[in-house]
């Protein structure tokens, strides 16, 4: 029998416990060669075929890699399951998105899948969110600004002052946001936006 080709997998996770778990589990696979911790600053020089990373680390790596699109494939392993977060990562160009409740078999499959250079690997929840997501330009940048302050509990006047626009303009934005979120009150807007992860904390 010929030796199966080795895949080099790097693990970068902010939580040491998760990191240790990922390294142990991935290391058990005979065809994976696992490395722990950050690689070279320029990921195009990384020897890894696949990097399994936490959410922030993955997005950081992608931003650093720029649009070149070369270098290791990146799989996110995270607990973040809100619409806004998942979509941001997918649009940011991750090759795989898995929630931390995925069983280890699924993770190994995902690593092999993206290593082959195929399509993106999304766990069920991420795929569902991606497929049913509204277009990216769904909330305007200004609406997002207003939403951020609204969720914090600012009144229209307060928001107007902070964004240096009139209270009436804020009001118009708020009612447009209400429509888009199918919310009937300000409080409901805040709740829905938070639950769906539409505002960055």
């Amino acid at each position: 029998m010929t030796r199966p080709p080795q895949l080099t997998v790097r693990v970068c996770h902010e939580d040491l416990l998760v990191m240790a778990g990922l390294v142990a589990l991935i290391g058990q696979e005979p065809d994976f060669d696992v490395h722990a911790g950050p690689g070279p600053a320029d990921i195009r020089h990384d020897v890894a075929d696949v990097i399994v990373a936490d959410y922030a680390c993955a997005l950081g790596l992608l931003a650093a890699a720029g649009a070149a699109g070369t270098g290791p494939r990146i799989v996110v392993m995270t607990r973040r399951d809100k619409e806004g977060e998942v979509l941001q990562a997918i649009h940011g160009g991750v090759h795989g998105y898995l929630l931390q409740d995925a069983n280890p078999f699924e993770l190994m499959d995902a690593i092999r899948h993206v290593a082959r250079g195929g399509s993106r690997y999304l766990c069920k929840r991420a795929a569902m969110l991606f497929e049913s997501s509204p277009p990216r330009t769904w909330l305007t940048a200004r609406e997002e600004d207003v939403l951020r302050f609204l969720v914090k509990g600012d009144c229209n006047k307060g928001i107007a002052r902070k964004l240096d626009i009139s209270a009436n303009t804020v009001k118009a934005h708020v009612s447009r946001i209400c429509e888009k979120l199918h919310a009937s009150s300000r409080a409901q807007v805040a709740v829905k936006a938070t639950q769906r992860g539409l505002v960055r904390a």
């Binding site: 902010e14 939580d15 040491l16 416990l17 998760v18 990191m19 240790a20 778990g21 990922l22 390294v23 142990a24 589990l25 392993m77 607990r79 399951d81 619409e83 931390q100 409740d101 069983n103 280890p104 929840r125 969110l129 049913s132 997501s133 509204p134 609204l150 969720v151 914090k152 509990g153 600012d154 009144c155 888009k180 979120l181 199918h182 919310a183 009937s184 009150s185 300000r186 409080a187 409901q188 807007v189 805040a190 709740v191 829905k192 938070t194 639950q195 769906r196």
Partner: protein, 214 residues
Amino acid sequence: MTAMAHAPQINVAIAHHDPYVSTGIASLLRASTDFAVQAGSPEAADVLVTDYATGVLRATAPVRPPVGRRPKAVSFLVVTDQDRSWQIRRAVDAGVRGYLLQDCSANELSDAVRTVAAGRRYLSRSVAERLLDTLAQAIPTARELEVLQLMARGLSNKDIGRLLGIGEGTVKTHVKAILAKLCEPTRTGAIAEAMRRGLLMDEEPPHGDTSLAS
């Protein structure tokens, strides 16, 4: 008993829903000869390391040992990413002896296991700080918490009154008291602060309805 050098191995069982955290804890503890990490049989363990929900549940209702067997006290150590002050408070109230956040170091983990095994409490620094916050904060009454929970669903006073079978005026009074206790002038501000403090129970079924707009 306190002489660590001669202390017998500490039996540790792990009941954590996250396979990665669970494996991580096991592999870090196995690196030290002080610990015997067992797969199952939490009854025989000195320390049971759990996720948040499991820890709170089991600490509240400890498993009774089979008849004839000497009951043995298991100390619960929760390892979690739930870091809101009232979440921590609820776990401690339930009887959890140790509380660690998932981003802890390997040393913290083994210190925590040793400490709770010796019958003491272990809270990491930031956890202790947040637990102390809860002592300084005004506590909403049970009824106010019910109202708060419904406010956080985005319901109006009228709807809350109907759901709880009380008048709208009464709801208003509760809401006013809630705003005062949370030191927030607005309804949305109060909801945000309640989330920050971890006063709201998780209602969302995991990965349930997201009611997406098309």
